[in-house]
Protein backbone atom coordinates (compact mmCIF):
# COMPACT_ATOMS: atom_id res chain seq x y z
CA UNK A 1 0.00 0.00 0.00
CA UNK A 2 2.60 2.54 1.03
CA UNK A 3 6.08 1.98 -0.32
CA UNK A 4 5.89 -0.43 -3.17
CA UNK A 5 9.58 0.04 -3.79
CA UNK A 6 11.58 0.33 -0.58
CA UNK A 7 15.06 0.54 -1.97
CA UNK A 8 16.53 2.48 -3.66
CA UNK A 9 14.23 5.41 -2.95
CA UNK A 10 14.32 8.37 -5.27
CA UNK A 11 15.41 11.64 -3.71
CA UNK A 12 11.98 13.05 -4.47
CA UNK A 13 10.37 10.20 -2.58
CA UNK A 14 12.47 10.97 0.49
CA UNK A 15 11.63 14.67 0.26
CA UNK A 16 7.95 13.85 -0.21
CA UNK A 17 7.94 11.70 2.91
CA UNK A 18 9.83 14.35 4.88
CA UNK A 19 7.29 17.02 3.96
CA UNK A 20 4.42 14.63 4.68
CA UNK A 21 5.77 14.06 8.19
CA UNK A 22 6.37 17.79 8.66
CA UNK A 23 2.78 18.34 7.61
CA UNK A 24 1.60 15.90 10.26
CA UNK A 25 3.81 17.57 12.86
CA UNK A 26 2.35 20.97 11.95
CA UNK A 27 -1.14 19.52 12.34
CA UNK A 28 -0.20 18.23 15.78
CA UNK A 29 0.94 21.73 16.68
CA UNK A 30 -2.40 23.12 15.55
CA UNK A 31 -1.04 24.98 12.52
CA UNK A 32 -3.22 23.88 9.59
CA UNK A 33 -1.83 26.51 7.20
CA UNK A 34 1.73 25.27 7.67
CA UNK A 35 0.49 21.68 7.42
CA UNK A 36 -1.20 22.50 4.13
CA UNK A 37 1.99 23.96 2.69
CA UNK A 38 4.10 20.95 3.67
CA UNK A 39 1.54 18.54 2.31
CA UNK A 40 1.23 20.43 -0.96
CA UNK A 41 5.01 20.16 -1.26
CA UNK A 42 4.81 16.47 -0.44
CA UNK A 43 2.44 15.70 -3.33
CA UNK A 44 4.52 17.94 -5.59
CA UNK A 45 7.59 15.80 -4.89
CA UNK A 46 5.69 12.54 -5.29
CA UNK A 47 2.22 12.66 -6.81
CA UNK A 48 1.81 8.88 -6.76
CA UNK A 49 1.54 8.37 -3.01
CA UNK A 50 -2.00 8.09 -1.60
CA UNK A 51 -1.23 8.87 2.08
CA UNK A 52 0.03 12.36 1.21
CA UNK A 53 -3.20 13.17 -0.64
CA UNK A 54 -5.25 11.75 2.24
CA UNK A 55 -3.39 13.94 4.72
CA UNK A 56 -3.70 16.92 2.36
CA UNK A 57 -7.45 16.35 2.34
CA UNK A 58 -7.48 16.54 6.13
CA UNK A 59 -5.51 19.77 6.06
CA UNK A 60 -8.07 21.30 3.68
CA UNK A 61 -10.89 20.14 5.95
CA UNK A 62 -9.23 21.88 8.92
CA UNK A 63 -9.13 25.03 6.81
CA UNK A 64 -12.81 24.50 5.86
CA UNK A 65 -11.97 24.18 2.15
CA UNK A 66 -14.20 21.21 1.43
CA UNK A 67 -13.95 21.30 -2.36
CA UNK A 68 -10.19 20.89 -2.32
CA UNK A 69 -10.47 18.36 0.51
CA UNK A 70 -12.81 16.22 -1.59
CA UNK A 71 -10.47 16.52 -4.61
CA UNK A 72 -7.53 15.37 -2.46
CA UNK A 73 -9.42 12.40 -1.03
CA UNK A 74 -10.57 11.41 -4.53
CA UNK A 75 -6.98 11.48 -5.69
CA UNK A 76 -5.94 9.28 -2.75
CA UNK A 77 -8.74 6.84 -3.61
CA UNK A 78 -7.67 6.76 -7.27
CA UNK A 79 -4.12 5.99 -6.23
CA UNK A 80 -5.07 3.32 -3.69
CA UNK A 81 -8.63 2.06 -4.22
CA UNK A 82 -8.29 -0.60 -1.53
CA UNK A 83 -7.42 1.85 1.24
CA UNK A 84 -10.51 2.59 3.30
CA UNK A 85 -9.48 5.79 5.16
CA UNK A 86 -9.71 8.27 2.27
CA UNK A 87 -13.05 6.72 1.29
CA UNK A 88 -14.42 7.38 4.77
CA UNK A 89 -12.87 10.85 4.79
CA UNK A 90 -14.47 11.75 1.44
CA UNK A 91 -17.85 10.53 2.65
CA UNK A 92 -17.26 12.65 5.76
CA UNK A 93 -16.97 15.78 3.63
CA UNK A 94 -20.33 14.94 2.03
CA UNK A 95 -21.86 14.23 5.43
CA UNK A 96 -20.65 17.56 6.77
CA UNK A 97 -22.04 19.31 3.69
CA UNK A 98 -25.40 17.49 4.10
CA UNK A 99 -25.08 15.76 0.76
CA UNK A 100 -26.80 12.69 2.14
CA UNK A 101 -26.90 10.56 -1.00
CA UNK A 102 -23.21 11.05 -1.72
CA UNK A 103 -22.34 10.45 1.93
CA UNK A 104 -24.36 7.23 1.99
CA UNK A 105 -22.76 6.01 -1.24
CA UNK A 106 -19.35 6.89 0.11
CA UNK A 107 -19.77 5.00 3.38
CA UNK A 108 -21.28 1.99 1.60
CA UNK A 109 -18.29 1.97 -0.74
CA UNK A 110 -15.95 2.13 2.25
CA UNK A 111 -17.82 -0.77 3.87
CA UNK A 112 -17.45 -2.71 0.63
CA UNK A 113 -13.71 -2.07 0.84
CA UNK A 114 -13.47 -3.00 4.53
CA UNK A 115 -16.63 -4.30 6.14
CA UNK A 116 -14.93 -4.56 9.55
CA UNK A 117 -14.19 -0.84 9.85
CA UNK A 118 -16.52 0.25 12.65
CA UNK A 119 -16.01 3.96 11.95
CA UNK A 120 -17.56 3.62 8.47
CA UNK A 121 -20.65 1.92 9.94
CA UNK A 122 -20.95 4.56 12.64
CA UNK A 123 -20.93 7.45 10.18
CA UNK A 124 -23.25 5.59 7.82
CA UNK A 125 -25.63 5.40 10.78
CA UNK A 126 -25.26 9.14 11.32
CA UNK A 127 -26.06 9.71 7.65
CA UNK A 128 -29.22 7.62 7.98
CA UNK A 129 -30.23 9.29 11.20
CA UNK A 130 -29.82 12.75 9.68
CA UNK A 131 -32.37 11.66 7.09
CA UNK A 132 -34.70 10.28 9.81
CA UNK A 133 -34.14 6.75 8.52
CA UNK A 134 -34.18 5.41 12.04
CA UNK A 135 -34.40 1.67 11.33
CA UNK A 136 -31.42 1.87 8.97
CA UNK A 137 -29.55 4.01 11.50
CA UNK A 138 -30.18 1.51 14.31
CA UNK A 139 -28.92 -1.40 12.20
CA UNK A 140 -25.76 0.51 11.21
CA UNK A 141 -25.09 1.72 14.77
CA UNK A 142 -25.47 -1.82 16.10
CA UNK A 143 -23.03 -3.09 13.50
CA UNK A 144 -20.57 -0.34 14.47
CA UNK A 145 -20.83 -1.26 18.16
CA UNK A 146 -20.44 -4.97 17.40
CA UNK A 147 -17.31 -4.35 15.29
CA UNK A 148 -15.80 -1.95 17.80
CA UNK A 149 -15.63 -4.77 20.33
CA UNK A 150 -12.75 -6.29 18.39
CA UNK A 151 -11.46 -3.24 16.54
CA UNK A 152 -12.11 -0.06 18.54
CA UNK A 153 -12.87 3.16 16.75
CA UNK A 154 -11.64 6.57 17.85
CA UNK A 155 -14.81 8.10 16.38
CA UNK A 156 -17.26 6.89 19.01
CA UNK A 157 -17.73 5.28 22.41
CA UNK A 158 -19.70 2.04 22.10
CA UNK A 159 -21.58 2.42 25.41
CA UNK A 160 -22.79 5.90 24.46
CA UNK A 161 -23.85 4.71 21.00
CA UNK A 162 -25.65 1.74 22.56
CA UNK A 163 -27.68 4.06 24.80
CA UNK A 164 -28.45 6.22 21.78
CA UNK A 165 -29.67 3.14 19.89
CA UNK A 166 -32.06 2.32 22.72
CA UNK A 167 -33.51 5.82 22.50
CA UNK A 168 -33.90 5.48 18.72
CA UNK A 169 -35.64 2.15 19.20
CA UNK A 170 -38.09 3.67 21.64
CA UNK A 171 -38.83 6.45 19.14
CA UNK A 172 -39.49 3.82 16.48
CA UNK A 173 -42.08 2.22 18.74
CA UNK A 174 -43.76 5.55 19.47
CA UNK A 175 -46.62 6.11 17.03
Amino acid sequence: MIGQQIWPPSDNKILSRRDYVQGMAASFKGDPSAALQFLQDSVRYDGTWAPAYNELGKAYVRLKDHDHAADSYRKAIDLDPKWVFPQVNLAGVYLHDKQWDLAEQGYLKAIQTDGTYATAWYFLAQTYEAQKRRADAIAAYEKAVQLAATRPSSAFKPDIVQRHVEKLKSKLLTP
Binding site: M1, I2, I6
Partner: protein, 86 residues
Protein backbone atom coordinates in the same frame (compact mmCIF):
# COMPACT_ATOMS: atom_id res chain seq x y z
CA UNK B 1 32.56 7.75 12.99
CA UNK B 2 32.93 4.51 14.98
CA UNK B 3 30.25 5.64 17.46
CA UNK B 4 27.87 6.50 14.65
CA UNK B 5 28.48 3.10 13.07
CA UNK B 6 27.89 1.33 16.39
CA UNK B 7 24.61 3.17 16.87
CA UNK B 8 23.58 2.31 13.31
CA UNK B 9 24.46 -1.36 13.87
CA UNK B 10 22.43 -1.34 17.08
CA UNK B 11 19.43 0.06 15.21
CA UNK B 12 19.50 3.21 17.32
CA UNK B 13 18.81 5.44 14.38
CA UNK B 14 17.05 8.42 15.93
CA UNK B 15 16.53 7.33 19.55
CA UNK B 16 17.72 7.41 22.30
CA UNK B 17 18.28 11.11 22.41
CA UNK B 18 21.93 12.28 22.40
CA UNK B 19 23.38 8.84 21.68
CA UNK B 20 21.34 7.91 18.60
CA UNK B 21 23.16 7.66 15.28
CA UNK B 22 21.36 10.79 14.09
CA UNK B 23 22.32 12.88 17.12
CA UNK B 24 25.91 11.69 16.87
CA UNK B 25 25.91 12.42 13.13
CA UNK B 26 24.71 15.98 13.73
CA UNK B 27 27.30 16.46 16.43
CA UNK B 28 30.25 15.12 14.44
CA UNK B 29 29.19 16.09 10.92
CA UNK B 30 31.39 19.22 10.65
CA UNK B 31 34.50 17.14 11.35
CA UNK B 32 33.68 14.18 9.10
CA UNK B 33 35.62 13.67 5.87
CA UNK B 34 33.82 13.27 2.55
CA UNK B 35 34.67 9.57 2.56
CA UNK B 36 33.29 9.12 6.05
CA UNK B 37 30.12 10.99 5.13
CA UNK B 38 29.72 8.76 2.11
CA UNK B 39 30.19 5.65 4.23
CA UNK B 40 27.53 6.82 6.67
CA UNK B 41 25.20 7.65 3.84
CA UNK B 42 25.55 4.18 2.31
CA UNK B 43 24.93 2.53 5.63
CA UNK B 44 22.26 4.82 7.08
CA UNK B 45 20.05 5.64 4.13
CA UNK B 46 18.66 2.11 3.55
CA UNK B 47 18.03 1.71 7.30
CA UNK B 48 16.30 5.08 7.51
CA UNK B 49 14.17 4.34 4.51
CA UNK B 50 13.01 1.00 5.89
CA UNK B 51 12.36 2.44 9.36
CA UNK B 52 10.37 5.30 7.84
CA UNK B 53 8.29 3.03 5.67
CA UNK B 54 7.49 0.73 8.61
CA UNK B 55 6.22 3.73 10.60
CA UNK B 56 4.24 5.03 7.65
CA UNK B 57 2.69 1.65 7.03
CA UNK B 58 1.30 1.86 10.58
CA UNK B 59 -0.25 5.16 9.64
CA UNK B 60 -2.01 3.50 6.74
CA UNK B 61 -3.36 0.76 8.99
CA UNK B 62 -4.69 2.90 11.81
CA UNK B 63 -5.97 6.40 11.73
CA UNK B 64 -3.69 8.26 14.09
CA UNK B 65 -0.11 8.61 15.21
CA UNK B 66 1.28 9.39 18.63
CA UNK B 67 3.22 12.63 18.87
CA UNK B 68 6.38 10.69 19.85
CA UNK B 69 6.07 8.67 16.64
CA UNK B 70 5.79 11.83 14.59
CA UNK B 71 8.93 13.18 16.28
CA UNK B 72 10.84 10.02 15.40
CA UNK B 73 9.59 10.13 11.85
CA UNK B 74 10.64 13.75 11.57
CA UNK B 75 14.18 12.82 12.59
CA UNK B 76 14.24 9.83 10.23
CA UNK B 77 13.25 11.86 7.19
CA UNK B 78 15.23 14.97 8.15
CA UNK B 79 18.32 12.79 8.26
CA UNK B 80 17.42 10.89 5.09
CA UNK B 81 16.86 14.18 3.24
CA UNK B 82 20.17 15.49 4.57
CA UNK B 83 22.00 12.40 3.30
CA UNK B 84 20.24 12.13 -0.06
CA UNK B 85 21.92 13.95 -2.91
CA UNK B 86 19.97 17.13 -3.67
Amino acid sequence: MARINRALDAGELVVPEKSSAYDLYRHFKPSLSAAALNGIKEKALPKLNIAGEVFLQKRAERSSFKESEVRQLLSIYDWAADLAPQ
